[in-house]
């Protein structure tokens, strides 16, 4: 069902970004926000807070796990880690996204038929 995947991908863009960020290693929420900001710079402006519901949803779906620890500044820190299931999901979505963006750019760059 290619269409379905595409729509999911659009709505879950933030989710994919989070999965991608965690594919480098475990991170806390602030770290994920910083990563997205640095990699995507100004191209993808997100409201930082909306990161967290997305994270918790991914956790509920079993794509990431978390555990609580204590930081050097002696604060409770919640750290997220990609699960095997999350890694597979990331691969699948990356693939769909590639196909989708290729298709969209083909459409946008097409010349008028027969013209």
């Amino acid at each position: 069902m290619p269409e379905r995947t595409t729509i999911d991908l659009l709505q879950g863009t933030l989710g994919v970004l989070i999965l991608k960020s965690l594919s480098w290693g475990p991170m806390h929420g602030y770290g994920i926000a910083r990563w997205i900001e640095q990699i995507a710079a100004q191209d993808l402006l997100i409201e930082e807070g909306s990161l967290y519901p997305a994270l918790h949803r991914l956790e509920a779906r079993g794509l990431v796990t978390s555990h609580w620890g204590v930081s050097e500044t002696n604060r409770r820190v919640k750290t997220y880690r990609l699960t095997e299931q999350g890694r597979q999901q990331l691969r699948a979505e990356t693939h769909s996204w590639d196909r989708f963006s290729a298709a969209v750019s083909r459409v946008l760059q097409a010349r008028r038929a027969g013209g």
């Binding site: 910083r34 640095q38 807070g49 967290y52 918790h56 956790e59 509920a60 409770r76 919640k78």
Partner: protein
């Protein structure tokens, strides 16, 4: 990218605190961002502000996160629980399937225990617990008069009027009288139980008719009649066009105005509180002034001021907010006022307000509770059996459990696993038990005496299934918990070191099993003693001399209709002709007739006054049974004339009014004197004529074998004609062989007149013993079941003991013990256990059987013969069931047993 070293993990003891976690997580983010801004040169406040703005609405985001987390936690918990349970159950089924013999015995045992409970519960639910189809039935009460001698007695019309006018704690009062009426016209004539009721009767009950519209308060036509569902079905083929049709009752035409619904089970209302002559099948409006009809009188009398004829029952609805106690208090106050106001008639009469439920079901509660107690005992025995089996099995599985514990399973987990096994067993037993219950329930209904409302509606329906599953799960936990606890307690190392599934069971498990067997024998003894007492009292009831020669006595009813039913002279002539023809039939020795046959027929009662005696207080007036008979009736019944003479054909309507009495009445009224020639007056009416006693007959037990003879008055039918008579015919051989000839004689006199209600007096007697037979048969069945289960329990235990002690027995034989010694060794254990069980059971039974005393007849609750017989039976059974394993023990080959 920040360097995120994996922080030190935090220890968690209990479930996560979602709110705190989310708050901490978000706060951390905002603070980190603020720190970054501050590092870049902002002052602290501006940095914090900017960080918050950048983050967005914190509260909304926190709420969203919390929601997601809580949902996820719930979901996870559910999945974990079901997963564990599924795993436990799968494992339980697998391991039970591996030991077939064990599972089969346990299943059958539990099926019997649970099935018996399901069957009895289905009856209790149908009769007692199911809601009544009346509006707020708990607000309905009956109002009775009370005297010192009779805690409940019927009301007089005068009192009904007083209660109706004076009681404020009830919103309405409806009077009820019970009649027998003749239904003729369509099909065979039939004598029916009927009720004449105040016109507001159906309003007070607030019951909706199935068809038509019954009469209502203040509006009733004298010709209206309301049919019961049963009568409508039986006589009128459930014809939906019946409303508005005319039917003939007591020779006059009546119009059907309504049919009541099937679940309107309204019984006959008796002061003794047990339905003894069936539910009314049709309802008639009251006579004048809202007073229900008197059974024998003309409809057109004004009875409002009658304070002597007690024939009325009253049902009333409590006003909202009024308690039963308040109503009772008010009724007593009214009764006190009336006793003062009408000193001559109402002095000494109290009032009793009784809840409807008690009136309807009070008399079945006790027997049903006896049955409940019986099945609970059966279930306890079954549980003990299953627990004992599980203990045996658990000790055989010690190694398996020890391994599981050693591999890190917690004790709770192992207990849960073992409980899953026992619960699976119990549920399987329940499923099997429902089959047993289905069979048992129909037998219970078939055996039950008549007059238990709603009994036939007992089903294995949803509430029963729910009850059965609840009992099964509870049972599974009950018989599983001790074995599971003990099995999981063993020292791991020792069990593994023991190395064997054959290891000793440990003293604790064997002691528990011994205790369970003692418990079984104890419970079986209580049940069997109860059953024994009930059987003995049934036997003595069956042997009671009723004063009637029961053998070869045929009875049948003749109901006159048409013009003949309305003329006393024609009735008499017909009965006399018929009796003469019947007596001439070959094989007939004697024949007679009575309006009220003893044991199961109608019963009339009357007060009487003895001539020349001071008038007693109304509450102390002597009462007697009141019968109307033909000449020849006493001889046919086998009753003797002890003084004076019998009724003869010469005692006509025109002759002076006469009466006969039985010995009990003669003794009470004229102690030590000759009653013949004395006079008495029947009823309270002072203007009624005095009647001369012409003879005394022997006593009979008119109300059945259980009730001692009471005073009886007999009038001759010529002086009190009736359109209904029950005939009795003494035959030489089988009573039924004369039916053809009698029918022929009736047809010769009146071709349209049928013989109805044909039965023998022995059948009547048997029906009157239905209740004690029912109770004794059922408790005996449960007692038998208990005995079988207990025997299985003893057999299992002794067999297991022998297996456990194989080595010991082998050593003993090797050392020269004889077979007899081995036998003695094994049997003595069975004897000791049975002895202790019998002793404890006897002590328990001695107190419990006191509760049965109301059901016993001719035998005391502590009857030594019953106790001794049951004790001996149990000990013999214990020894016999131990014999097979004991004999097996004597065959143990010491060379083989010791080598392995």
């Amino acid at each position: 990218m920040d360097d995120v070293s994996d922080p030190k993990p935090e220890r968690r003891f209990w479930k996560p605190d979602v709110r705190r976690d989310v708050d901490d997580e978000l706060a951390f983010h905002i603070e980190e961002r603020a720190r970054e801004f501050a590092t870049a040169g902002m002052d602290d406040d501006a940095a914090a502000d900017a960080a918050r703005r950048r983050f967005g609405p914190v509260d909304t985001i926190a709420a969203a996160c919390r929601h997601i987390d809580e949902h996820a936690i719930r979901e996870k918990r559910r999945i974990d629980m079901w997963g564990d349970l599924r795993q436990d159950l799968r494992y339980a089924v697998r391991s039970l399937a591996k030991s077939r013999a064990f599972s089969l015995v346990a299943l059958v045992t539990l099926a019997l225990g649970i099935g018996a409970n399901a069957a009895i519960f289905s009856v209790i639910y149908a009769v007692l617990l199911r809601p009544l189809p009346l509006h707020q039935p708990n607000r309905l009460v009956f109002i009775w008069s009370s005297t010192d001698a009779f805690p409940r007695s019927t009301l007089t019309p005068g009192r009904l009027v007083d209660y109706r006018e004076q009681l404020t704690s009830v919103s309405a009062v409806a009077g009820i009288s019970h009649l027998s009426v003749n239904l003729t016209g369509t099909g065979d004539p039939e004598r029916l139980n009927a009720s004449s009721v105040s016109s507001n009767f159906f309003d007070v009950l607030a019951v909706a008719p199935l068809l038509g519209d019954p009469f209502h308060g203040g509006r009733s036509d004298d010709r209206d009649v309301v049919l019961s569902y049963a009568l409508w079905n039986r006589r009128f083929a459930a014809d939906r066009g019946i409303v508005g049709r005319e039917i003939t009752i007591n020779g006059s035409s009546r119009r059907v105005v309504a049919v009541m619904p099937a679940d309107f089970d309204w019984p006959s209302i008796t002061a003794r509180g047990s339905s003894n002559f069936g539910s009314p099948e049709l309802w008639l409006p009251p006579a004048r002034h809202e007073i229900p009809r008197m059974p024998r009188e003309d409809a057109n009398q004004d009875l409002r001021a009658d304070r002597s004829a007690g024939y009325l029952r009253a049902v009333a609805r409590l006003r909202d907010g009024v308690t039963l106690q308040q109503a009772q208090g008010e009724a007593e106050a009214v009764a006190r006022r009336l006793a003062h106001q009408y000193g001559r008639t109402d002095n000494g009469l109290g009032a009793v307000v009784q809840p409807l439920r008690e009136q309807f079901f009070g008399f079945v509660q006790e027997p049903l509770f006896v049955l409940v107690a019986s099945v609970i005992f059966v279930l306890a025995i079954a549980c003990a059996n299953a627990a004992s089996l599980l203990l045996g099995r658990a000790s055989a599985r010690r190694r398996e459990i020890a391994v599981r514990l050693a591999l890190g399973a917690s004790r709770g987990r192992v207990i849960r696993q073992l409980l899953a096994e026992s619960t699976v067993l119990a549920l399987g037993g329940a499923a099997l038990g429902l089959l047993f219950a289905w069979w048992a329930q129909s037998s219970v209904i078939a055996m039950a005496p008549e007059g238990i409302l709603r009994l036939e509606s007992a089903r294995l329906d949803l509430p029963v299934l729910g009850f059965t599953s609840a009992v099964a799960i509870l049972t599974g936990i009950m018989f599983g918990i001790v074995p599971a606890w003990q099995a999981s307690a063993g020292g791991v190392n020792q069990d593994l070191a023991d190395g064997g599934g054959r290891g000793s069971a440990g003293p604790r498990a064997s002691r528990t099993r011994d205790g369970l067997v003692v418990l079984q024998i104890c419970a079986a003894l209580v049940l069997l003693v109860g059953a024994g007492l009930l059987l003995r009292s049934f036997a003595s009831l069956s042997r009671v001399d009723t004063g009637i020669e029961m053998r070869n006595l045929l009875a049948f009813d003749i109901i006159l209709s048409g013009p003949r039913a309305r003329s006393g002279a024609m009735q008499m002539a017909f009965y006399d002709d018929l009796l003469r023809s019947i007596r001439s039939i070959p094989g007939v020795k004697a024949a007679g007739a009575a309006v009220t046959l003893p044991i199961g027929g109608d019963d009339f009662g009357a007060t009487y006054a003895v001539e020349g005696r001071p008038e007693p207080k109304p509450s102390e007036e002597p009462t007697a049974g009141y019968q109307i008979v033909t000449p020849g009736y006493f001889g046919t019944m086998g009753m003797k004339i002890v003084e004076g003479r019998d009724f003869t054909d010469g005692d006509t309507a025109e002759a002076p009014e006469i009466v006969m009495v039985n010995q009990t009445l003669a003794r009470r009224a004229w102690p030590g004197e000759d009653p013949v020639g004395r006079r008495l007056r029947i009823g309270r009416n002072p203007s009624a004529p005095w009647q001369t006693v012409i003879g005394v007959v022997t006593d009979i037990r008119h109300l059945g074998p259980a009730t001692a003879p009471r005073p009886e008055l007999y009038e001759v039918h010529t002086q009190s004609p009736f359109s209904f008579m029950a005939f009795v015919v003494r035959t030489e051989g089988d009573p039924y062989s004369t039916v053809g000839a009698i029918r022929h004689e009736i047809a010769r006199l009146d071709p349209g007149l049928p013989m109805s209600g044909i039965r023998t007096m022995e059948e009547h007697l048997s029906r009157s013993l239905a209740r004690p037979r029912f109770l004794s048969a059922l408790t005996a069945s449960f007692g038998g079941l208990a005995l079988v289960l207990a025997v299985v329990g003893i057999y299992g235990l002794i067999g297991y003991t022998v297996t456990q002690r194989t080595r010991e027995i082998a050593i003993r034989s090797a050392l020269g013990a004889q077979r007899a010694d081995v036998l003695k060794l094994v049997l003595s254990k069975a004897l000791i256990l049975a002895g202790v069980g019998v002793l404890l059971g006897t002590l328990l039974a001695l107190s419990l059987t006191q509760l049965l005393s109301g059901f016993l007849f001719g035998v005391t609750p502590g009857d030594p013969w019953t106790f001794a017989a049951v004790g001996a039976l149990l000990i013999v059974c214990a020894v016999v069931s131990a014999l097979i394993p004991a004999i097996r023990a004597t065959h143990i080959d010491s060379t083989i047993a010791l080598r392995t």
